[in-house]
Symmetry: C2
Amino acid sequence: MFPRGARVLVALSGGADSVALLHILRELEHTGELALAGVAHVNHQLRGREADEDEAFCSAMAADVGLPFAAGRVDVAGLAQGTGRSIEDAARELRYAFFATAADELAADAIAVGHSADDQAETFLLRLMRGAGTRGLAGIRPRVGRVVRPLLELSRDEIRAYVSGRGLPFREDSTNRDVAIPRNRVRHELMPLLQQYAPALPAVLARQAAIARADEEYLEAQAIDLAATIVLRTECGIEIDAAALRTLPPALAARVARQALGATAAGRFIGFQHIERVLDLASDGKEGETVALPGQQATRRGQRVLLSKPGGEPFSNFFRFSLSIPGEVACPGWTISAEKLETPVEVSSRPARGDEVVVAAGPLLAPLAVRSRQRGDRFRPLGMGGRGRKLQDFLVDRKVARSERDRLPLVVDRDDRIVWVVGQSVAEDFRVTEPLQGVILLKARRLGGVG
Amino acid sequence: MFPRGARVLVALSGGADSVALLHILRELEHTGELALAGVAHVNHQLRGREADEDEAFCSAMAADVGLPFAAGRVDVAGLAQGTGRSIEDAARELRYAFFATAADELAADAIAVGHSADDQAETFLLRLMRGAGTRGLAGIRPRVGRVVRPLLELSRDEIRAYVSGRGLPFREDSTNRDVAIPRNRVRHELMPLLQQYAPALPAVLARQAAIARADEEYLEAQAIDLAATIVLRTECGIEIDAAALRTLPPALAARVARQALGATAAGRFIGFQHIERVLDLASDGKEGETVALPGQQATRRGQRVLLSKPGGEPFSNFFRFSLSIPGEVACPGWTISAEKLETPVEVSSRPARGDEVVVAAGPLLAPLAVRSRQRGDRFRPLGMGGRGRKLQDFLVDRKVARSERDRLPLVVDRDDRIVWVVGQSVAEDFRVTEPLQGVILLKARRLGGVG
């Protein structure tokens, strides 16, 4: 699951699953497959003294196994209140953000978290009840960016047996029993009920999730290729070729529409009802008909569906397009292409600066995307250690004109990590160290007369 | 949902759903869109006097609306005992077989049955708990062959409201409350429980099923095209090109393997565990390694996986290959192709006998398959009325040599209805009546020196 010789940061809540994870990885370390870089713990500051005790417990356990300890305190309630999101959503975002920072500081290539097959099954049911489609049922992924979930195929019972078999101490989170939290209701009420009907249900659902994931990966890859010709960026905004969309099988039409909406929704939730509105507009919308969507609107214009800001103003700055490998995408002023090099390259012959660069395929999670910068972007230029720096500061240093910054294309991976700041630098994380392991060639071509 | 001007047979159990169906279609009849051909009722003979009363009730209701009534008595317990299948499975098979016979006798083009969105949601949960994959989650299809389900998007509550609003009488099946039957347990126990968590669950699940259906249709079509080159029939049996299978995305590899197993499983259930065994054999089986599968075995031979009868004997007689439109497939001694004609044809210029025929696209349900005959095959040759006849008798009449009969290719549709007995006759059900409605051209080419 880990890149060979990876430096791994272990996320430790203090619960039995993460305690097992830490000790299993500590054992694996002896094989030389990986090295532990440290232990990270997030105090969500939601449970007062109990949370402080958890933090102390984790700190002691890290010392016990002889690893550096990184503790983060995050303001979950503040983020939830400020954004109207659920406590669970806000906690998840802040937790993973802290893990990423800690991994940078401890120079870790991977972040191991302790999700089990039971977590997978619970997620499946939660999403099923919300109506999440194949995409949602795909559930928790074994690997997303640097985050790796080594226990995802083990049941909670198996993990508990490991912990108790070794007499390892662990903490019980008192809120785990709070059935006001949807996941706990599923875990403690719904799943046991369902298991009266189907005793092996958690394993069955984990398998369903794996099947959905395989389906979704293939269908999404197909949709990305199609979107490159069906979803176009013009001076009016994002345009969808309605005639082309109508010719697609429904499974692909829905995913191409989702790609288009995702290009401008900037993180907002795109539901099936939104996709269906766009498909309806493409199939039998009247000229000028407009529907409201999250963060945008869609309007029928001739044989096109035009996406623009609510009110009709074009999306003038932000853009985001998926880039398949191999593939090519046009963004304002540039075309960007990606291809896998099958033969080993002379890395030294390919500079990291310029319009043609090579990056390591290993750490990179497909699909790639090309997007413009957004607030909060961080970047670690080639050769720089530590946790990276603000992209804004990097662009200032590199003397990129203010007027250029918003249209400068960034190549990012599925996890939205910046892979290449076009024309400036590839990221240290994607530096080619072992050319034999697989290399992606990225090329940028500036379109004549623009920018 | 119905072909324009269709003659529809209504399946009537006497329950509220089918009573609503009958009356809704009776109202629709006034629009001229369809004509009712009659009412069919199956007495499963499992509930003694109650079942007889249901039959009398349905007979009276048919008379009341002025329609012919066809009642069938089937031996569910006998079939279940003889085959080891569940009562529900056996009842379903016998029920639909009777509906098909009744439709033939009443010259009906379509058979309407009363499944609701709640039935769809229950089926989804039942299959989910069994671990049915995307294919299983696709649930009840709105249309399969002649069977049409006009109420599939209405909830049971909406249907009941229609029935009580019009003061229509209906029967309550006492076994509907028997929670020893899995479907009833889902309906009366599990679904109400789940709705405490997600009140709109039946509608959500019906939508998930529709999404799974769209995904599955596309993926299955892709797999059919791939199987044409990856799954080969040789004198040793069915062979899968293991090297080609390994290069496919997992979503397609699993479906191509399923196609291969389905070619010889002759109706047996193919589960994910079986597919995985074949994929494992293709990816890292040792030379000669053999695994047991339903009705067959798989053996690794060089870069091939060979499917044969348990014990290793080749499948000498039966074959079945999917045929996409457009597409071509090789079967022993023949190649068969299908393509959609885009321009209207002079039907009279295309004989129904010979090696090149046209059939109506409307009633035909893709994907097609080419298979050899099997016991119980029935066929209604062009121009023949009534319910068709035994294929065996037809072949005897046509003086097809006994030695030829097992290798004669039949083109069938998804519902396994015979579309074309190659070289002999197309089926009356697929006769081209309105060339403008879409026509499929089927061609057969006999391979030199064989047969």
